[in-house]
Amino acid sequence: MSEELKLTILKKLDSEGSIEDTTAAFKGVSEEVVLGALKSLESQEKVAYVTLTTEFWTIEAEGKDQLENGSYEARIFEAVPAGSQGIAIKDLEAKFGKVAKLGQGKCLANKWVKKDGDSLVRIADSIVDQVKAGLETVHATGTHPSKDTIKDLKRRKLIKANKTVSYAVSKGAQFSTELKKQATDLTMEMMQSGAWKSAEFKKFNFKSLGVNPNGGKLHPLMKVREEFRQVFFETGFEEMPTNNFVESSFWNFDALFVPQQHAARDLQDTFYLKDPAVASSLPDFWKTVKDVHEKGGYGSIGYRYPWSEDEAKRLVLRTHTTAVSAHMLNKLAQGPYRPAKYFSIDRVYRNETVDATHLAEFHQVEGVIADKNMSLGSLIAFLDMFFKKMGMSDLRFKPTYNPYTEPSMEIFSYHEGLGKWLELGNSGMFRPEMLRSLGLEEGVQVAGFGLSLERPTMFKYDVSNIRELLGHEVDLGMIARNPACRLDKKMGREALQRSEAVDEI
């Protein structure tokens, strides 16, 4: 059918040059079918067409009644006898029902009749039924020359607007009357038969999206983690075994020279365990740690408070991976001196009230460098290089306080788009009280630095609520859609230009 129609169109064009109106030319063929044929022909550039839209009016049920039987007002006028006697209104209502009321109003408005007591009396001798005449014109021509008439009939809901669509067709660049079947795809069959050589391929719409492969995807946080790991590997770091979320307070705090009354050890900030509640033992050097807290040592005056072994044994969910760094440094100290670089990226816990930027657990990125040559200057130089690999070149350092590092520095980077300095993380040189109690010899300096993994990820992937990144409230669509992570390329909010960044500030 459609092939037939296409051929008919082509032949008509061939003989007539053009088709002015498809509705007139192909009576009885629906507009959709014509359009289908035209689109197909157009895609082969055999024809070109423009859409013609015609408005016309059809008569509604009530209109049909008035077209046949006259308008309501005409019917009422006819029912009012000539002469001063007129007719009683209630008689009209009895005879015409609903029509009486509607017709009466119009008759009065047209000054065809007047009210005389309970009766209607003629004023006009004769009338012309304009409504009926109007409907007749619409019936015959689909429209009416007078806009007011159309408007009036429409208002009375006697007629309804309609639209016809037809097409004016002309020859296309590749016009011919021959119709070749077009191939939509290259098939194995065509390859085997050689049909592809003479096949005409249907024009392809490249302004479209392909089929989603619905493949597997990796989580964005893990993608950012992978980039960080790569940078650590490039710079000679060994990954620490951080697969121990449960730590004793000893390793999490005491061994790091965090005093037992420190606010970070409050129930408000740290998750303590109910079961199991305490570590079965403390490492051999616990007395060294006790002494350095209580009395000092290694040139330090210590914190001078009574240190409690029981407090040190209380188990916690680690509040930082530095607990693991302490284990590693303790292990490193068992052998002869060698420089070492350690890193880890893993979960840590804080007893936080959850909101858009805080979770009770998050990932900490940590690096530790043990080296006799380590100084604040070489740490700064290292961090310069480290962050440069992530596309951040303009670093600045601010003195800060950490209980287990001294000197300590916050790391800042200037963000062009936001026009301000952003804090990247924290760093410093571990205190001798910590290092020496862990067994490291004097002169071995250890620098550490840390940052959260979630923060840069939220920045790179434009996630504003941390719960939509880590945890079950994640949007799997977000995971499927987001691009690969390349820390050296600007992504997400990071790529914001100054003008776009106004809302951010």
Binding site: G215, G216, K217, L218, L221, M222, E226, R229, G236, E238, E239, P241, N243, F245, V246, S248, A263, L267, F271, Y272, L273, K274, D275, P276, S280, G299, I301, G302, Y303, R304, Y305, L315, L317, A340, K341, S344, R347, N351, E352, A360, E361, S375, L376, G377, I380, F382, D384, R396, K398, P399, Y401, P407, M429, P432, Q445, G471, H472, V474, L476, A480
Partner: protein, 584 residues
């Protein structure tokens, strides 16, 4: 990190009118404090309102917690002034506090000092109160360790006594009240007071309460709660008696020293303090405050080495002056005199930090001189990454769920029983979502599917992460275990789909199915009655070693419809979860 509010104009005037907000922010950055906010930048100030600066102070710098401290430290840093020398001068009539034996039961220590001839203004008075608040909150650990009482010396008579009495026997009018109360009534009275109620727990249940009396047995304070109305300080007060009680002798001294070094500035003879002698029941006597400078010996070699600069000892000594530290060079040695304002300096490394700040962190030469080291991944993480990639390549999407969850999520919702030998339970969670450490990844993934119902089925989700299991054999009593869990949610359970994925994972780890081989390291699905799964549709995943011994890796199956209901899921789900550590 504590934050203080400072009058902007007053501080800028003090520093010689050379700053605007931007340049002052830079100064703070360099010095290691942080200008958090300038109220005049936030919007129009109200008529007569003065611009305030909000400044973040490092948690160990108690000497910067008030206008007096921060202005002096910055003034010295800018070399506009020299740091003062604080002096203890004898009083005409010595002050004494005698401690009774009972105090040892509740709050053993007391120290004191007198500021003579003080001139207070409304601003200075407010600063004095604010500093006490800040110290109480931070150093004094919400008054638990230390609490401060201040009195108009001219309203009381020494010698004073520090005692511990039964609450019924203590009678006085508390500060800003008119009613005379005994100790019990005080507790009751302040139960609804937003400020004081937080401290009631410190002494509430003690049989005796600490109390300070003057010679006429007038109550001066009921530490750590409240001072008396009688001895309260006003703007007209000229002589201030400070008594501070504590359970921690180190911190009580730090607190006293900070208070007197900050506010002795307003004494007739600035920076002088009159001592108070404290006599303990055993007859031991101590005199406070202890304002002598501490000596700490260090070397230029050490300091230069830590910072990464090369300065002569004399240059170092000059730089340290900017940090209010006086240093004497003695050959190779540098003897640093530490003022009473700097109890944060414990070790030479603290002096190194001050040197670095004085030199300027951002002016330190950036020289990389570390020795080369060899990189290596952690074997377990390397294994995880192999499994993660294999599962993702097979068409699964990676989730990263929380390792803390409710007890029900991990047990009742999975139709599992808690035998008490598996799960680590938290002591102090703020939410029921954080009751335990998960022992399975499955509940997190089921919740993930529940949150993503809007997506077309099937959903294929996986996670490779740690769970935590109790283990009495290790020091910490618990250890992590690395699991891999994958699930398939669709209109039909299609067990064979997760089974096929498990086959792929095993293949990637070079382990074959017992269906395909009868020797070597193999795996096998052994039908088992596992309550989480539909009866007859659950199995244990077993690893069979070359020697024939076997090990349970985990489970696989079609989830029990009741389990799905518990996670608000209406579609069938099949899943497996295995421990991957045996593949290390």
């Amino acid at each position: 990190m504590p934050t203080i509010d400072i009058d902007k104009q007053e501080l800028f005037d003090y520093l010689g009118n050379q700053f605007d907000t931007a340049s002052f922010r830079e100064l703070c950055f360099e010095f290691g404090i942080e200008l958090e906010e300038d109220s005049s930048e936030k919007g129009q100030l109200a008529e007569g309102e003065r611009a305030q600066l909000k400044i973040d102070i490092p948690a160990n710098r108690y000497d910067l917690l008030c206008f007096e401290g921060v202005s002096r430290a910055l003034g010295v840093f800018l070399r506009r002034e020299d740091p003062p020398t604080y002096k203890v001068v004898p009083a005409a009539e010595p002050h004494r506090i005698t401690v009774s034996a009972e105090c040892a039961q509740v709050r053993p220590f007391v120290v004191g000092a007198v500021l003579r001839g003080v001139t207070l203004t409304a601003e200075r008075y407010q600063s004095f109160i604010d500093l006490q608040d800040k110290l109480h909150h931070n150093l004094c650990k919400k008054r638990e360790l230390v609490s401060i009482g201040t009195h108009d010396l001219d309203t009381v008579e020494g010698p004073f006594t520090y005692e511990a009495q039964r609450p019924e026997d203590i009678q006085f009018v508390p500060l800003n009240q008119t009613e005379s109360m005994n100790g019990r009534r005080v507790i009751e009275f302040y139960e609804d007071d937003q400020h004081i109620k937080k401290f009631l727990h410190i002494i509430r249940d003690s049989p005796v309460y600490p109390v300070v009396y003057d010679a006429k047995r007038r109550v001066m304070s009921l530490p750590p709660l409240i001072n008396s109305e009688h001895s309260k300080i006003s703007l007209d007060t000229r002589n201030i008696l400070i008594e501070i009680t504590a359970t921690d002798l180190t911190k009580v001294n730090m607190t006293l020293n900070i208070l007197v070094t900050m506010f002795s500035k307003y004494c007739n003879e600035p920076f002088t303090v009159e001592p108070v002698e404290v006599v303990y029941p055993d007859g031991k006597k101590f005199v406070y405050p202890e304002l002598e400078q501490r000596l700490m010996a260090t070397t230029g070699e050490y300091l230069n080495g830590i910072v990464g600069i090369e300065k002569s000892n004399d240059e170092i000594s000059e730089l340290l002056k900017k940090m209010s530290l006086e240093a004497e060079v003695q050959g190779d040695k540098i003897n640093v005199k530490l003022p009473a304002t700097r109890p944060d300096i414990l070790q030479e490394c603290d002096i190194a930090e001050d040197l670095a700040i004085a030199f300027g962190y951002n002016r330190i030469p950036r020289v990389q001189n570390n020795e080369a080291t060899v990189a290596a991944p952690h074997p377990l993480n390397k294994l995880s990454d192999i499994v993660r990639r294999e599962i993702a390549l097979a068409g699964w999407t990676e989730a990263l769920t929380l390792s803390l969850c409710s007890h029900d999520n991990n047990f009742a919702h999975l139709r599992r029983k808690d035998n008490g030998d598996e799960v680590v339970v938290l002591e102090n969670p703020k939410s029921s979502e954080n009751q335990i450490c998960r022992t399975l990844l499955l509940p997190g993934l089921l919740k993930t599917v529940c949150e993503n119902k809007r997506y077309a089925l099937p959903l294929r989700v996986f996670e490779v992460s740690d769970v935590v299991l109790k283990n009495a054999a290790v020091e910490r009593g618990a250890q992590n275990q690395r699991h891999a869990c994958a699930l398939y949610a669709s209109n039909e359970a299609r067990f064979e789909i997760v089974q096929g994925l498990l086959d792929e994972v095993m293949k990637s780890l070079n382990v074959v199915s017992v269906v395909e081989a009868n020797k070597g390291v193999r795996y096998s699905l052994e039908e088992a009655d596992i309550p989480t799964y539909l009866p007859g549709r659950g199995a244990n995943v077993m690893l069979i070693n070359e020697d024939g011994s076997s090990l349970e890796l985990g489970t696989i199956g079609i989830l029990h419809p009741e389990v799905l209901g518990n996670f608000d899921l209406k579609t069938p789900v099949s899943a497996f979860e295995i421990n991957i550590e045996p593949f290390l």
